[in-house]
Amino acid sequence: MLKIGILGTAHGHADSYAEEVNAHPGAELIGVWDDNAERREASASKYGTAAFDTVDALCTATDAVIVCSENVYHRTLTETAARHGKPMLCEKPLATTPTDAHAMITDCEAAGVSLFTAFPCRFSPAFVALRDAAHRGDLGEILAVRGTNRGKCPFGWFVDTKLSGGGAVMDHTVHVADLLRVLLRSEVSTVFCEADNRMFSGDFDDTGIVNLTFESGVFATIDCSWSRPAQTFPTWGDVTLGVQGTRASVEMDMLAQGATLYNEGAARIQTLGYGSGIDGGMVAAFIHAMQTGEPGDLATGTDGLRTVEIVAAAYESVRTHQPVVVKRLSGMM
């Protein structure tokens, strides 16, 4: 039985990961830690596991950890886990700056532990089918991709840039950017971004279009906006890709498998998704990697770093109003 601990439950995805670990026959959630005592106890109770008072105590008790704290704490939690020799899966974005992400990779390399980035969209059956078709050449040569990862504003610490490192561009660009890297098997060379705070007043960006140009010449846009109305929109948001190949075009709407419920007691029309969960595939792959050393489709630390570099270039472009060449730090893991 693989013993897993969760470091930080600030990110809502911790709930889903905990559920998936609990459901997995080969792993056991042995505890959670969070710097907020109230949240720590609440999470432990919700997941049916123990609350640990210190990071060190939880790390000592586990075989592997999942980091789901606020973005800015990913680095220190990773450093601590690495010091304990514990491999880990870290929530996206891997870090808020390329420097931090790179340091995390270096630390894990030095400690000889593996570091993975939580990009569950890689495990969507729709994306896997698209990826495989593209890699077989069924689409011809891919020329361009239109991507979206729009959602409702998550508020809370997500809009506190001291904890999140940025707004919608920080939160939502990386999922689709990672899918595009996998799909296109190419790195991003330049980034252009228009982003602004226009929906909810504050010092964070809530609307944005990120343009990526890959070394292969393929271009793509990602709408990362928190543009879905909080009260009335029927789902939390979307992940879509419109892929233009010389032989075929493919439209992927990752979460489109849903039924519509009109319930008189509810404030809104609801879309009830029934598609295969994506977190389960990722958590299972992580557990499998811990057991066998085979990473499968998991995103590595370097995969995480590549997307953090894209985000950094996007924010620079917002300031300069021109495309920015991505500065790439070396990454091994």
Partner: protein, 326 residues
């Protein structure tokens, strides 16, 4: 009611369509058709009673019964015909885009202004009920303050040779996406910065535009020539208090499918409208109202020029790789 005599210049696909709707406008009628292709003007004119058929524009302009010239020729020829029509004292309705250079736009605007005639450009998207509804609801505050908008317009690769020649049509951005550029500026004001990418392969042209408006709104426009699933449009407008979305693929009132694969499809419009609601009818009727002095032109010359300016900036951005300020 005073009769408005319509002269159609260019008897191709769009000229034929406009002629059909002009014939339905009360107090207006097609009186002349000109086309350089032998037989083309005759074939169209014969549908409209005693309408005259010409092979030169000069002959059409010399016909005193022509009060409006509807310019329906390839885009690179708009200037020559629109200016000549204005100089002949004719009101001018020009197919979109107005022209492929700003100097051509300026020449047309100057000539029509000097002649004191009505001039507008066929940005028919404004007359499509879903776009008109969006604009009306937007102005009424339905989404609060608009923040970010997206448009998509996808269709088959043009079958006519001149469309495929970028020098004559301007390509997918100037010819197709320009509809959305006009709509976006109509809704959110002037676009001040453009970053665009264009991909092309045989039978396919694709563009993604990222736009910033002076009002602060960010918008994104997608244009496809060579869409295998058939023509469709989609847009969404997000704001501080809501989201307005439309997708023509999900708003089909009629869908016909033949039982045997490969059988001739049933010819049905999937978005049928009452004749008086047809956007092409409403467009020419609005121009007739302008000619009669009942209303200003629906699309001002400045707006139409501005749409061209954005399209040209997008093409420049795609060519240089830089964002272009307008």
């Amino acid at each position: 009611m005073q009769t408005i005599g319509i002269g159609i210049v260019g008897a191709g696909n769009i000229g034929s369509r406009h002629a059909r709707f002009w014939a339905q406008v009360e107090g207006a009628g097609v009186v002349a058709v000109a086309d350089t292709h032998p037989g083309a003007s005759e074939n169209l004119a014969v549908l409209y009673g005693d309408a005259r058929a010409y092979q030169t524009v000069a002959e059409l302009l010399a016909n005193p019964n022509v009060t409006v010239v509807h310019v329906c020729v390839p885009t690179h020829l708009h200037r020559e015909i629109a200016v000549a029509a204005a100089n002949a004292g004719k009101h001018v309705l020009c197919e979109k885009p107005m022209a492929l250079t700003l100097s051509d736009c300026d020449a047309i605007i100057a000539a029509t202004a000097q002649a004191g005639v009505c001039f507008s450009v066929g940005h028919v998207t404004r007359f499509f009920p879903e776009y008109a509804l969006a604009k009306a609801r937007l102005d009424a505050g339905a989404v609060g303050t608009p923040t970010i908008a997206r448009t998509r317009r996808a269709g088959a690769f043009p079958r006519t040779a001149w469309f495929a020649d970028t020098a004559q049509s301007g390509g997918v951005v100037a010819d197709l996406t320009v509809h959305d550029l006009d709509f976006l500026q109509w809704c959110f004001g002037k676009i001040i910065r453009v970053y665009a990418k264009i991909a092309a392969s045989p039978g396919f042209e694709y563009a993604l535009l990222t736009l910033r408006h002076e009002s602060g709104v960010i918008s994104h426009a997608e244009g496809v020539w060579g869409e295998p699933t058939g023509f469709h449009t989609a847009f969404e407008i997000a704001g501080t208090a809501g989201l307005f979305t439309h997708d023509s693929r999900a708003a089909r009132a009629l869908v016909a499918s033949v039982r045997q694969p490969g059988d001739t499809p049933v010819a049905l419009m999937n978005a049928p409208l009452a004749p008086s609601d047809d956007p092409y009818f409403r467009q020419v009727r609005a121009f007739a109202d302008a000619v009669r002095g009942v209303a200003p032109v629906a699309v001002s010359p400045a707006d139409a020029r501005s749409a061209v300016a954005v399209a040209l900036a997008a093409i420049e951005s795609a060519y240089t790789g830089n964002a272009v300020e307008i």
